[in-house]
Symmetry: C2
Subunit: 191 residues, 2 copies
DNA sequence: GGAGATTCTGACAGTTACTCTCATTTGGTA
DNA sequence: TACCAAATGAGAGTAACTGTCAGAATCTCC
C-alpha cells in the first residue's frame, strides 16, 4: 500500500472516530459536519469526499461482505438455519470486547436517531437479497425464487426483532439473543 | 365537523395530491417544497405545518391503525396466521381499483428513492411492535414476550419480502403475493 | 350578530446538509 | 528533477428545514 492509500485510510478512520465521539458527547443532530471536519482537521469539502452523508459516517461498516462470505463457507452438510446460526456465532466471536462495546454504543445511537434508524432498516432490507443469495447457493435454487426470498425475509425479520430487543436492553448479549431467534425460527415459531 | 377541520383536511389532501403529481412528473428530488406549496396554493411555512418533512407528504397513510383494528377483530377461533391472512385480504379488498393504482404508484416511487425507502423500512420496524401487540392480544401473552416478538418479526419479514417483490413487478397482485407469503410461513417455510 | 379568545397562515430571517467549480497542493512516476 | 494524476481547500449556491411574529380566519359566548 502506497503512502496515498494509507493516508486515506487514516483520514477515513479519523473522521469516523471524531464523528462518533462528538455524537456521543453532544448528540447527533446537535453536531454539525463543520465541527466533525474541524475535529478531524480536514475541510468540510473533504468530509463529503469520504462520506456521502453525515449518516454514512456512523453507518459505514464493512461487516456485511464478511458475513456473506462466512455464510457461504459453512460446511454444506449443515442445514440452512444451522448454517446461519454458525455464521452469526462466527462473526460475533471475531469481535473483541472493545469492538463489541463500540458496536453496542453505535447501535444505541442509531436506534435513538430517526434518520439513522431508517437508514439501518434499509440495510436490513438489502439483507434479504444477500441472505436469499446465500440460501440459493446452498440449496441450488434460484436467488429470486419465491420461497427462497420468503425464507430470507423471515430470517431477516427475526434478526431484526432480535436486534431491536438487544439494542434496547444493555444487559442482553447479542450472540445469545440472535441465536435464540434463529432457534425459535427453526422450531417453526411456536407460541 | 366544523369548517376549520374540513378546511384542514382539504388542505392536507391537496398538498399530498400535488406533491405526488409533481413527484411523478419530474421526480422526487427534482421537486422542491416551494413548488409543491405553490401548486397547492399555500405558503412553504404551511407545508411544514401539515407535513413535518417532504418525505411525509408521500408516506403519510392512515392505513396502519385500520389494519390493527381489523386484525384484532378477527374471530378468536382463527389461528394467528389465518387471522393475519384474513386481515390482509379484508384490508386490500376495501381498496377500489383506482385506490389500488394509487398505492402501487406510490410504492414504485418509494422504492426508487433511497430516502423514501429507508423511511418505509422504518415503518416496517414499527410494524413489529404492532403485530406483536395483535399476537399478544389474541394469545393472551405479553406483547414484549420474546417468542411473540420473534413471531411478529418473521411475519413482518415475509411481508416485507413480498412487498419488495410486488413493488418490483407491476404484473403481480399484492393480495396474492402477500397471502402466499403468509401461507408459506404457516407451512414452516419449506424450501 | 358582534366582541374577544383561539387557531391558522404567510413573510422573513437563519441554520445546516449537501453540491459544484476551480485553484493549489501533494504523492506517484519516469 | 520534472511531469502527471489525485487529493485538498476555499467559496458560492441550493434546498430542506426551524423559529418568530404580525395579521387573518374561525370559533365561542353573550
Amino acid at each position: 500500500m502506497g503512502l496515498r492509500e494509507r493516508k486515506k485510510a487514516k483520514t477515513r478512520a479519523a473522521i469516523q472516530r471524531h464523528a462518533l465521539r462528538l455524537f456521543r458527547e453532544q448528540g447527533y443532530s446537535a453536531t454539525t459536519v463543520d465541527q466533525i471536519a474541524a475535529a478531524a482537521e480536514i475541510s468540510p469539502s473533504t468530509f463529503f469526499r469520504y462520506f456521502a452523508t453525515k449518516e454514512a459516517a456512523v453507518l459505514y461498516d464493512p461487516v456485511d461482505p464478511v458475513f456473506i462470505a462466512i455464510a457461504i463457507a459453512q460446511p454444506p452438510e449443515l442445514g440452512l438455519i444451522p448454517a446461519m446460526r454458525a455464521t452469526v456465532t462466527d462473526v460475533l466471536q471475531r469481535f473483541s470486547a472493545e469492538e463489541m462495546e463500540f458496536v453496542r454504543e453505535r447501535q444505541l445511537l442509531v436506534f435513538r436517531e430517526p434518520d439513522l434508524r431508517a437508514a439501518t432498516m434499509d440495510q436490513f432490507a438489502e439483507g434479504i437479497d444477500q441472505i436469499a443469495g446465500v440460501a440459493a447457493q446452498r440449496t441450488g435454487r434460484a436467488p429470486d425464487d419465491f420461497v427462497v426470498r420468503n425464507w430470507a425475509g423471515a430470517v431477516v425479520g427475526v434478526l431484526l426483532a432480535a436486534f431491536l430487543k438487544a439494542a434496547g436492553d444493555p444487559e442482553s448479549d447479542y450472540l445469545v439473543v440472535l441465536d435464540q431467534a434463529l432457534v425459535h425460527l427453526e422450531a417453526g415459531l411456536p407460541l
